[in-house]
């Protein structure tokens, strides 16, 4: 199991790396889907089967498909600026990334976070009880947000005279 985790982590990191360096968006999306699959299996290993399945259904099955759809519909041409990002484009990313990695590093070397605990978190009934009882209001807010997104997308996509 642990070996499988490391293997999947490797796959996720490598495919994400390919994704962000790929010049063509369609290839980038395919690499990203690979990364999402390995992440989904990692979630399953971390005893979160529901999140794993929703990662595949919504991320790989809906969001990335939407990306593909808009890439195919708009056919963006690859620009010269995009092909060769100069050092000016890289330094903010390097700076922020360094700061972030440093923060995580200090967090980790400052001591063991906690002792590993074993509890079954894969129970779907308990999960749904928690979701709809304790976080019921949040569910409503998220559904409202989805409704707004629907209306907004309809407004943007409507035909203009």
């Amino acid at each position: 199991m642990t070996t499988l985790f490391y293997l999947l982590a490797l796959v996720a990191v490598i495919s994400t790396l390919f994704c962000i360096t790929e010049r063509h968006p369609v290839h980038a999306v395919v690499y990203l889907v690979t990364s999402f699959f390995s992440l989904a299996v990692i979630f399953y290993l971390l005893r979160a089967p529901l999140v794993a399945v929703f990662e595949v259904i919504i991320y790989a099955g809906a969001i990335m498909v939407l990306f593909l759809f808009s890439i195919m519909m708009s056919r963006p041409e690859v620009t010269e600026v995009e092909l060769h990002p100069g050092i000016r484009d890289w330094w903010p990313a390097l700076l922020l990334g360094g700061v972030f990695l440093g923060a995580v590093g200090t967090l980790i070397i400052s001591g063991p976070l906690l002792s590993p605990e074993t509890a079954n978190t894969g129970d779907i009934r308990a999960f749904s009880r928690l979701l709809f009882r304790k976080y019921g209001l949040a569910v409503e807010i998220v559904s409202l947000q989805l409704l707004f997104a629907l209306v907004g997308a309809l407004y943007l996509g409507r035909r203009r005279q």
Binding site: I20, L45, S74, A93, L113, A149
Partner: protein
């Protein structure tokens, strides 16, 4: 817990930084910027799920689910806007959208 929480967090951090780099470097293509955001959100989900597994509580998974729902709303709007902008200006380079009077 199959691996210590630290290793999950390191994986999440590495993926997050890659997403950040994608967002900041590839400004020539709005779609790639959105891809970067997706990568970062996934790293956040990974951190939440890892924490949920480590503490044995499900709240982390609930939040992961909320992030997924929120992302789908965000992506549908953002992509609708990208397609709309591309239809108007025939470009997806973010630096080209600098005038206020479109």
């Amino acid at each position: 817990m199959i691996v210590p929480l630290e290793q999950v967090l390191i994986l999440a951090a590495v993926i997050f930084v890659m997403g950040l780099a994608c967002l900041l470097v590839r400004r020539g293509n709005l779609i790639m910027m959105l891809v970067g955001i997706e990568i970062m959100l996934n790293a956040a989900i990974l951190a939440f799920v890892g924490g949920s597994a480590a503490w044995g509580k499900m709240d982390g998974q609930v939040f992961a689910l909320f992030i997924i729902a929120m992302t789908s709303a965000e992506v549908s709007l953002a992509l609708a806007m990208v397609v709309y902008l591309h239809r108007r200006r025939k470009t997806v380079n973010s630096d080209d959208f600098s005038g206020m009077k479109g």
